[in-house]
Symmetry: C2
Amino acid sequence: MTIIEKLSALRALMKERNIEAYFIPTSDFHETEYVGEHFKARAYMSGFTGSQGVLAICQDCAALWTDGRYFIQAENQLEGSTIDLMKQGEEGVPTVEEYLYDHMSENAILGFDGRVMNTTLVEKIASKLNEKNITFACHEDLVGMIWNDRPELPNKPGFFLEEKYSGKSTKDKMADIRKEMQKHGAQYHIITALDDIAWIMNMRGWDISHYPVMLSYLVIGMDSATIYIDEAKLTDELRKNFADNQVEVHAYDAIYEEVKAIRGVVLLDKNIVNYAIIENLDKEIQIVNCPNPSQLMKSMKNPVEQENNRIVHIKDAVAMCKFMYWLKTNVGKEKITEISASDYLEQLRKDQGCFDLSFDTISAYKEHAAMMHYHAEEDTDVELQPEGMLLVDSGGQYLEGTTDITRTFVLGPISDEIRFHFTTALRSNIALSKAHFLYGCRGLNLDILARGPLWDLDLDYKCGTGHGVGHVLNVHEGPNGFRWRIVPERNDSCVLEEGMTQSNEPGVYIEGSHGIRHENEMVVRKGNKNEYGQFMHFETITFVPFDLDGVDASLLTSYEKAWLNDYHAQVYEKVSPFLTEDEREWLKTATRSI
Amino acid sequence: MTIIEKLSALRALMKERNIEAYFIPTSDFHETEYVGEHFKARAYMSGFTGSQGVLAICQDCAALWTDGRYFIQAENQLEGSTIDLMKQGEEGVPTVEEYLYDHMSENAILGFDGRVMNTTLVEKIASKLNEKNITFACHEDLVGMIWNDRPELPNKPGFFLEEKYSGKSTKDKMADIRKEMQKHGAQYHIITALDDIAWIMNMRGWDISHYPVMLSYLVIGMDSATIYIDEAKLTDELRKNFADNQVEVHAYDAIYEEVKAIRGVVLLDKNIVNYAIIENLDKEIQIVNCPNPSQLMKSMKNPVEQENNRIVHIKDAVAMCKFMYWLKTNVGKEKITEISASDYLEQLRKDQGCFDLSFDTISAYKEHAAMMHYHAEEDTDVELQPEGMLLVDSGGQYLEGTTDITRTFVLGPISDEIRFHFTTALRSNIALSKAHFLYGCRGLNLDILARGPLWDLDLDYKCGTGHGVGHVLNVHEGPNGFRWRIVPERNDSCVLEEGMTQSNEPGVYIEGSHGIRHENEMVVRKGNKNEYGQFMHFETITFVPFDLDGVDASLLTSYEKAWLNDYHAQVYEKVSPFLTEDEREWLKTATRSI
């Protein structure tokens, strides 16, 4: 079917049901950052394949909202579809709520699949449309009715993450969560965030590319619990862990019926729990709306997770160092493109035990790197030359942890301006790496350390300086991170607690010219405690050389040089034992003192 | 009368009125930071003379709360008074509310003078005592009834601050305030903050030492206004300015009766407006409780104020440089003490046109400087020797502006540790001075620039890094400042706006050994605006050498050295024309490039 045919089929279904407008977000039932193939309804209906966007369809018009990263792509993909592009955040562009308000009649019905809409979003739309007394039809998935070749829900069995990797039993995690429930006076806790459930149950799986989670819901009572999941995907170990912890297994979609029976006080996070679940709760129930307690617990990596994470970062560094050696030795001698380079790196990671990438690799040459979310496709792929720079942002999923690293490689001659930017962004990374601060600080207190050297040049990067990283889980996780302003929906401005792991990735992006990013992962550690309070600092756990070919040493302070030389000495010490003779010799030079 | 006699006289008055407990804070009718002699009721009743503290008196017990700065002083001054010392913030010490709750009966009466209690404080006490159904008697000043030799309210005439100093007419200021009242839907605005009234009315006076304000209240309606002030203190110019702006003059204490007639919506700040005024308002009135709009307006210095401020800071720098020359040349040769040094400096300031100090000078030698609020008295005064350091924190009130500066002078040999601390605190000051940031930043985003170098040594200073400074007004003013955590009652964490003027004063305080503080004033300025936003930076307006005898140049980065050398070159250029030949020669060396 063409997009126009799909729209017309959907409109017919809408008409039959007296639905005036239909709303299609980009989400699964769990508000996951990236969704599996089964859930790409917005892409199916619009043809626009970007990772972010919402679609609204009326009888005689339709519009798609997406953000600045995707304006060009969306314009191309929407051509001929009759769907209007709404450039989110641009002046004069209405919000979805405003658009629906303008195009809908009094007392009309807005349709959507309540399972793919988080409750906060629905409440936001409702607060605008209430003025016209518009009601919701949220129990039918109209896209599902016309999508004949829809990919099935995934069915590959997951696996139990042994305690030598997870460091904490489900029993202990559930006990901690029940303590938090008690503090809130809650008898029940509904959890639909896949990473929280995976963490609590020490369970991992293959349901979403790069995110090793399993589609499921979890309801925890004070002395009972139920997980809603496709039984076919369970292994004996997973089954045993559930049984050992008195967790009953019910069918994945049974939750919608069963939550109707819940009585008492329920703790849940409306920013995540979908509207269909909330709709089915008894109206007398009292909801305590707050972040899942597991979110903060999960972010504070335990000693076993930290130790595994240190180990896996060496494995990942071995892959990265071999890649760097190969790239810098062979560029200009054999044909290497953005895509072939990232494929080569992927293989090196797999050799180290990586079972999946932690996100789609960004391999961006020269001006491509100025696009922060560039992803090389066949039609954009270019051959690397012995000049300019290649930015590679990549990471892997291993049983011992999740990695995320960016290096910008100098392939040959670069301009003075590029060297200046390269060195300044490195000074930014070093300043945040060296941060030493009192307990109580948040990312917003520290962000200027990284941004400062670039702000000094009237430059900035239009994103946070760093994000929390999961453990054998999502490469982006809350509630920690670095950002100078609080952005509530980003949920990354908490007080930095020991064990939290986050990226440090300042960069310079000059449109049409070049992009630079230097990214390490760092763990929050306690230092001395004295009359002033508890001092904290970061332990950097990524060990790959920053390309000294891009560095103007005269711009570095003695403090920065000392940090860099010490860091590079550690890189050599930790990584060299796993390299070939040639690689080792090269690494010696790449990590030389400057 | 002895304290015991005073307490017994007060208790007799309480008994007659059936008042079970009486509460005496440290405040005037305007919640001013420092109060005039007439208002020192807590000191009169307790014998404790510190600048902060509250006193609660029951029939058979009495207690005084004060903070860590004053524990030793209070212990000494309360000896034999029968008043218990409550060390605020120490573990196990009850708050005043808890104390009153424990010592008072159900349905009893708590007495206080409603004019010296801000409304937020009364509401806080009420929320605790309501549980016991305790009511308030707030219309009588019992201390006033027994205080026979109470100092009169001040009666020296104030003066009109000409527009060449203020830069903005009362007319324009009132128009701006009325616009803000309109935004809040308010017909009336009650202002009791003396600095706000002084700013709006371009009026200054002598009612509080170091704070050039006049005791008054102001009620602004949409097309009328009334100032409540002692008419005897008005000059013709002040009278004319009131008349030109349709501001009626009523007796100082007439406000309490007249506010009863106000109807409509009233904008006021409960953190400042006293409880007696609120009590007298019609109960049907709607209060919009928010900061006085004049507070933010006042903090953003206008171009004329900024220009005057630049001029006065050169005058102040001339006094400071002459002082520094004299001190460093004569120490060990003639007898100089902490007090005689500060007297000498005061005279130098007066020679420059200073009409009052902006606060009591801190002149603290060696270990005295480790006490951040040390004030030399006859019994603590010491003679300066040609060794160690003298910390001098001082400032002046001039018609052109208000100054606040700290320098730490090296008088002779110092230890390596002191030199290290001196240099590190200077690096802290420089880092904040050089800050270059995007519009939207608050003090909490920038604070780590100053604190970072000290945090790196596991050191900290237990105060903000800087405070807003008034213009021919309070040396401490909100809502701007530098602090890494938001402390609501400090009111110094706003977004930094162009023209805001604040101190930059990191320090090191090692008990029993030494204290170092380097303080400059800086004005927020706009820089370039580009695709990333509006860049901002600081213009330093204090021009006095940092004592290079304390600096270990090897610890400074090239960036820091460049800043310092450039700063010192400016000091020489701006100040040397006003010095004698000898002083000029000395300044040349004191500002040499390192």
